[in-house]
Amino acid sequence: MAFFVPGDFCDLNVFILDQMDHSIGTISPCHVVEIPRHAIEEITAHHPRVTRALMWCALVDGAVLREWLVNIGSRQADQRIAHLFCELLLRLDAVGRVTDNSYAFPFTQSDVADTMGLSDVQVSRTLRELRGRGLIHLKHRVLTILDEDQLKSVLRVQSQLPPPQERALEWPATSAVVSSVNGG
């Protein structure tokens, strides 16, 4: 299980498969771009720096997934949810979707329970506790992290996501890539 945020690739490498081995659904209205197989093949064949950047994205996905395994495997309810909130804060901030430590939170309590392997009751109790401790504010589908340091201390989150390094990417033959994306 995973949540995608704007800017994420929905598992780029699936172009290798003939059939998807998992399904993807939307929770809120989404703008989705379909990248045709030949565009990926063109990138991997002729644009090594872009390819490397895409590999970097896959590494981030892997790191996030490992944290989710630890979440389900060994963290308590409050730690799992605190981790999810901190993780989304980091990921959404990276794509400019955080304002005043707040971000859109379209998930229902059942969505959170389902993905975190918790019961609805555990989720509602945990949210009440986190609110009670002044760590979060959640209303009208907007989550505000009121005290990031304290929330992190709930689980001693370390930002182990590999930081994006190659910021000044050159995008050679941009028009060729863009036109194949648009035409796809």
């Binding site: 309590q109 019961s119 609805d120 009751v121 509602s124 949210l127 009440r128």
Partner: protein, 60 residues
């Protein structure tokens, strides 16, 4: 509420009373033991419902 089957404690049920629960007043399986350990139980509107669910799960 302690649930005893054949002299053994198999579950602990609590009545949800906080207003922010989806169905306050329902019974929630706070803990399950033995075969019920880790089981994902639904909320129960009545203790009868809970008893029936637990009996089904414990059937050999």
């Amino acid at each position: 509420m302690l649930v005893i089957a054949n002299g053994l404690l198999v579950a602990v049920l609590v009545r949800l009373d906080a207003p922010d629960h989806e169905r306050p007043g329902d019974w929630y399986m706070e803990a399950g033991f033995g075969r019920l350990a880790g089981a994902r139980a639904p909320l129960f509107a009545t203790l009868d419902e809970a008893t029936r669910w637990i009996r089904r799960r414990l059937r050999p």
